[in-house]
């Protein structure tokens, strides 16, 4: 281009002079002139004044995050040692207290393994996000620990679990049927958490984290009320969040089912005193099954046949409902809701502008571009929500089949998948007392007496 632009230098200096003069009389400049004056080039100071630099307080050092990971690993190891070797409820509680204080109040909850599911989902299924080391480690370590030692993470390392564990004052049993039904919810929460995270829409699990508000001494009212309600409920019902909401519990449950060394209630032979089953507030100890089933085998078999026949229908129905509900689910996304709003404004269906549509118009992106982006999101949601619906269907159907099958257990056993490694059951086991005191338990001689 043969256009000799005046050097920015000259122009600036020229404007500097003019505007310096303006600034000098600025005291009297009427407001109306403000808009014309707009850019005011930085002055050249005569007295050696150098403009200060804006300070940049640095975020928490990355190595401290690595330290957190190391602490988590150490706490997991300690919990495994206490739960499986020391078999001490008291020490487990102390470790839980530490976790509440450090991972909860000092580290204020973020990042945590429960939330890290979403980081993993976003990095794996979404785009434009690389998984940080800490998120990956927090996600994997408790699962690895569960693979070998059972859910020791839930026992005393997770601050969300530990705070509920400390609040459990008057444990009451929840009816088995209710426990079974509510056990479906974590799968749904996991599904919706992954759905929204992978779409890059929101981390809903973190958004509705009930206890992080306490750890931070502030937070949204919805989350705080949810937390307060759960804690109140948690004084009588064991760990409601862990059992019926926590999405991470799903992953832990399935890894712990394959565990190498889990919690074993009695150190050696079981004398069938049935005390441990009552000591467990989470219904994770299953008694030995009845010798003879309560109903004829043929009836049970027919029922199983029916359930198996219905199961695919449930999955298909879930998928279908998911597909139908997709637009409403997608609406939680910023781009989708913005596009909808802008479209309604353009077609005159709504008057005025929202903060978001106003901001969009300032950015001067073509509306067509916004619509296209929203369209891409909506198509993605169409497929993903179908999968989510199918997932819910699979879980419900699976649970029904599970409740129809007969299993055989010769002894009182901790259900490794459901056991939270809290170590409560040890304290009520008479054989454990024998181990600790070296005295023969009186219950050995009259095991069946209530």
């Amino acid at each position: 281009m043969p256009l000799p632009t005046p050097g920015p230098w000259d122009r600036d200096r020229r404007r500097t002079l003019a505007l310096a003069a303006l600034a000098a009389v600025a005291g009297a400049a009427p407001a109306a002139h403000a808009q014309e004056q707009k850019k005011q080039p930085p002055p050249e100071f005569s007295e050696g004044y150098t403009p200060p630099m804006p300070s940049q307080p640095q975020p928490r050092m990355p190595w401290l995050t690595t330290l957190d990971v190391a602490l988590l690993a150490a706490a997991l190891g300690l919990a495994a040692w206490i739960g499986l070797h020391r078999r001490s409820r008291r020490e487990m509680r102390l470790l839980g207290l530490f976790s509440v204080l450090y991972f909860g109040f000092i580290r204020q909850g973020c990042l945590c393994p429960v939330g890290s599911i979403q980081n993993v989902a976003l990095a794996a299924l979404g785009s434009g996000y690389a998984l940080p080391f800490a998120a990956g480690a927090l996600f994997l370590l408790p699962l690895l620990a569960a693979l070998f030692f059972g859910r020791v993470f839930c026992g005393a390392v997770c601050p969300l679990g530990a705070v509920q564990d400390l609040a459990l004052l008057w444990p009451r049993r929840v009816p088995a049927w209710l426990d079974n039904a509510l056990g479906v919810l974590p799968y749904a929460v996991l599904g919706i958490g992954v759905l929204y995270a992978a779409a890059g829409t929101a981390f809903v699990v973190c958004q509705f984290d009930p206890f992080v508000g306490f750890f931070r001494f502030s937070g949204g009212w919805l989350a705080i009320s949810l937390g307060a309600g759960l804690l109140m409920l948690g004084t009588v019902v064991g760990r409601p969040y862990c059992r019926w909401l926590c999405p991470y519990s799903v992953l832990l449950r399935w890894t712990a089912a394959l565990t190498r060394w889990g919690v074993r209630i009695t150190p050696k032979d079981c004398i069938q005193c049935h005390r441990c089953a009552d000591a467990c507030p989470f219904g994770a100890i299953s008694p030995a099954t009845l010798e003879a089933p309560a109903e004829p085998r043929a009836v049970a078999r027919r029922r199983l046949g029916r359930v198996l026949a219905v199961a695919p229908l449930i999955v298909v129905a879930g998928a279908l409902l998911g597909r139908l509900g997709a637009p409403a689910v997608a609406r939680y996304d910023r781009v989708v809701s913005l596009a909808e709003r802008v479209y309604q404004e353009e077609t005159g269906r709504v008057k005025g502008q929202t903060n978001a549509s106003e901001a969009f118009r300032k950015q001067a992106t073509p509306t067509g571009e916004l619509y296209r982006q929203a369209l891409v999101k909506r198509r993605w949601y169409g497929g993903a929500t179908t999968l989510f619906g199918a997932w819910c269907g699979i879980v419900v159907a699976g649970k029904l089949i599970f409740l129809t099958l007969r299993r055989r257990r010769p002894d009182y056993e901790a259900d490794q998948a459901a056991c939270l490694s809290c170590a409560r059951c040890y304290t009520s086991c008479p054989i454990e007392q024998e181990r600790l005191t070296g005295l023969r338990s009186p219950l050995r001689d009259a095991p069946e007496q209530p």
Binding site: A23, A29, P59, F133, L147, C270, A359, K362
Partner: protein
């Protein structure tokens, strides 16, 4: 199975015989595989450029000063504060970050000044230039001054998330609320988006 860990291992119940061995063998394989896979994954993650993680930051060019930063942060007062790039500032006495565009006279009294907490101090430098100093502990991140500075001035004042306060929530409350989508994750190594030049 827990026997190996227990002090009373010797008289632990007999391991059931038969079919279980193959299952145990398989499970051991699964476990070993998982450990190797997890180890490999973590090594890759630790070496990746993104390993150090991210923090949240506001893009001042997208910010519309809607004021939600002041109310939607989990912290009270918000972790968002006004930041001033002095190198862009015109050092006007009549600063539209400091003073309203509609005033009665040009005094600094409250009916003329923008900042609701009086966090901006005008400091004399040399005739006719004044430095606008922001008292960060008073600033609530409402962005009212930023709006004035952007509309009428050089745009040298803008909002930033201050990382000495920010607790780096996994789901940032203000990022979710931001109508302009101006808040995003940035590398922890470059945690600020400071303005350096005229837009």
């Amino acid at each position: 199975m827990a026997g190996k860990l227990l002090p009373m291992a010797d008289d632990a119940p007999e391991q059931p015989q038969g079919g279980r061995t193959r299952r145990d063998f398989l499970l051991a394989g699964v476990r070993t595989g998982s450990v190797v896979a997890a180890g490999g994954l973590l090594t890759i993650l630790a070496k990746a450029p993104a390993a150090a993680g991210t923090v949240w930051q506001i893009d001042p060019d997208k910010c519309t000063q809607c004021g939600l930063c002041a109310t939607n942060c989990v912290l009270q007062p918000s972790a968002v504060k006004c930041v001033h790039t002095y190198a862009m500032c015109g050092y006007c006495k009549l600063c539209f970050g400091l003073l309203k565009d509609k005033r009665t006279g040009n005094t600094l009294s409250v009916e003329n000044s923008r900042c609701p907490t009086d966090a901006i101090k005008r400091v004399f430098v040399e005739d006719p230039y004044y430095e606008m100093h922001i008292e960060e502990n008073l600033c609530i991140g409402c962005g009212i001054c930023v709006k004035g500075c952007t509309r009428f001035g050089n745009g040298s004042m803008y909002l930033q998330i201050r990382h000495d306060r920010c607790v780096n929530c996994n789901e940032c409350g203000i990022a979710r609320a931001c109508p302009a989508g101006a808040i995003s994750r940035v590398s922890v190594k470059t945690p600020y988006k400071l303005k350096t030049r005229h837009a």
